[in-house]
């Protein structure tokens, strides 16, 4: 174990995340974990880590970090104008960094969440099987909270010298966060809480991502959706991407730090591969929803899994 970075400026909301805390939702413990799981996984692969290693999740206004040990890093996800000693650091590519250099995040260019991976992974105590930070309950990560000035980030001793810097994603493989295609969902589960007319409206109108959006969920604003009877349901499980509609008719998409159960009717659920595309949208963006079949959603999910396996193999050969 070694100190790898010193936090000079913490950024707006920077936290250690991995793939989430699985198996404890039955006790009311949220999963947490990276908002954009795809970017998190790819960033890890680029530095030779397992996909489930912890990364640093960086939201919009990123931190300034002092490098304390030579290592290899990569940034996946949003382009937040990262520089190393004022030289631009491209996303989706691994770089060697040296002790004494300063890694700075600047102006957000596109996307919302970036993931900094370091060879060997960021160290944090595992709490209930995960290193993910759940700040509301002070669970996981660095003392259960977002980064503060003066913090030290630790990393396992990795054989970083064997990891060749300069691994990268092909241009054609890069996700496009400026896309205008609709966010795909599977209808339900509370289909009887909404009329056909309401569903028609839900799939035709656009919704704006409001300022009240965070790791718990994205609150949307648009033409209010009405319920056939009432907004409240008997409290029931919610999943990543579940879209609740409370009495005011404005949908909320539930994300990584969501509670495990909710009491509002659920109109639809965003499919797994489209959650990263949604979370990378900026506040103020207009989005639309499109209903797809389970077959379509799972085919895309499996294809993404195959892509990640291929990428892992290709990068290993690249050493």
């Amino acid at each position: 174990m070694k100190k790898i970075f010193e936090v000079i400026k913490p950024g707006l909301s920077t936290s250690i995340q991995d793939l989430g805390r699985m198996g404890y939702q039955k006790y009311g413990i949220p999963t947490s974990g990276a908002m954009d799981v795809f970017a998190h996984r790819v960033a890890n692969l680029l530095v030779g880590n397992q996909e489930e290693e912890a990364t640093l999740e960086i939201m919009l206004m990123g931190p300034q970090l002092k490098v304390l040990q030579d290592t290899v890093v990569a940034i996946g996800g949003a382009d937040l104008s990262a520089t190393i000693d004022d030289e631009p650091l491209n996303s989706w590519k691994s770089f060697r960094v040296y002790a004494g250099q300063i890694l700075t995040f600047g102006k957000p260019v596109n996307g919302t969440y970036a993931y900094l991976a370091v060879s060997g992974g960021f160290f944090a105590e595992e709490v209930m099987g995960s290193k993910s930070t759940y700040a509301q309950a002070n669970i996981g990560g660095l003392e259960g909270r977002v980064l503060q000035k003066g913090d030290y980030l630790l990393s396992a001793d990795a054989d970083w010298k064997s990891i060749r810097a300069g691994r990268y994603l092909k241009n054609t493989d890069l996700p496009n966060y400026e896309h205008h295609r609709p966010i795909r969902v599977i209808t339900g589960p509370d289909i009887f809480a909404f009329s056909d007319k309401t569903y028609q409206q839900f799939y035709q109108e656009s919704y704006r991502i409001t300022e009240q959006s965070n790791r718990m969920g994205y609150r949307l604003d648009g033409k209010a959706l009405s319920h056939t009877d009432r907004a409240d349901i008997i409290s029931d499980a919610v999943l990543p991407g579940t879209i609740q509609v409370p009495a005011n008719g404005q949908p909320i998409v539930l994300l990584s730090d969501r509670q495990t159960t909710g009491g509002y009717a659920r109109i639809a659920t965003v499919i797994t591969t489209d959650i990263p595309l949604l979370v990378q949208k900026k506040i103020g963006s207009e989005i639309q929803f499109l209903s797809v079949s389970l077959e379509r959603a799972q085919a895309d999910y499996l294809q993404q899994q195959r892509y990640l396996r291929m990428l892992r193999t290709a990068l290993q050969q690249h050493i």
Binding site: M22, G23, Y24, Q25, K26, Y27, G28, I29, P30, V127, M128, Q136, A137, N138, I139, I186, G188, P189, I234, S235, D236, A237, L239, P240, G241, T242, Q259, T260, T261, T269, V270, I271, T272, L294, A297, Q298, Y301, L302, Q305
Partner: protein
């Protein structure tokens, strides 16, 4: 009732009824104990609720069709499954003024003495229908109708961990400091969520809870013991149908 429906591209929701009823919820727990007994490849976890259990799975390991088939098979043997043994947990609560900011208002609302409220609150054996809302928070059934009290008009910015409150037809305990609009009538020194412990969560769905009134002296004594890691609430296993 038994119905199965897809929920997003990684979820399956199995429903056992439409109402908050003990018998429906016991079936939820029968089913989750079968899921524990017969682990299935591809199932990541499950979330039991009042009337349903939602299963989260990995479509890379099991298809929806296969999963549905296996779950239907489990349902067939469900009636042979004895209801899970209920644990009874005694939660010490101090209802004295310093811990009960809303006691006077609740007493005033119901035209009852605080003694009467304490008696009504400690009398029932509460049933834990489900967990949720925050880590370790139990949704309890069994509050006396005489204590149904509306929430505060405007929630407090901070309610202390351990606070015991009433909100409409429910009573509950805050496992962590949190904002909240429940009417606070007492506080327990016991921890529902304890980061220091191996088993971090005290209560599980399907448990029975009993509140026991303690004075402030006992409260502080238990609080000290909790801090030293020497306190464990009284838990007894009770066999048979909790309903």
């Amino acid at each position: 009732m038994y119905s199965i429906q897809l929920y997003g591209d990684r979820g399956v929701r199995i429903q056992f009824g439409n109402k908050i009823e003990r018998q429906v919820n016991v079936n939820v727990h029968r089913f989750t104990s079968l899921l524990e007994k017969y682990p299935m490849k591809g199932i990541t976890e499950w979330i039991p609720a009042y009337t349903s259990v939602t299963i989260y799975y990995n479509p890379g390991e099991i298809t929806y069709m296969e999963l549905e088939k296996k779950l239907n098979q489990l349902q067939k043997i469900m009636s042979e499954e004895a209801p899970p043994a209920a644990r009874k947990i005694t939660i010490p609560v101090c209802y004295e003024k310093e811990f009960a900011v809303d006691m006077d208002d609740v007493a005033e609302y119901h035209k009852l003495s605080s003694q009467e409220i304490i008696r009504l609150h400690t009398e029932p054996l509460y049933y834990v229908y489900m967990m949720g809302f925050m880590p370790g928070f139990p949704y309890l059934g069994g509050l006396s109708e005489k204590l149904f009290t509306p929430r505060l008009d405007s929630p407090r910015k901070r309610v202390d961990r351990g606070s015991v409150g009433i909100a409409d037809q429910q009573t509950g305990i805050y496992p962590l400091d949190s904002p909240g609009g429940w009417r606070i009538i007492g506080k327990t020194p016991a921890r529902l969520y304890d980061a220091e412990k191996e088993n971090k969560i005290l209560i599980r769905s399907g448990d029975m809870l009993q509140f026991e009134a303690i004075d402030s002296e006992a409260y502080y004594k238990i609080e000290d013991a909790v801090q030293n890691g020497e306190y464990q609430p009284e838990i007894s296993e009770e066999k048979g149908d909790p309903s």
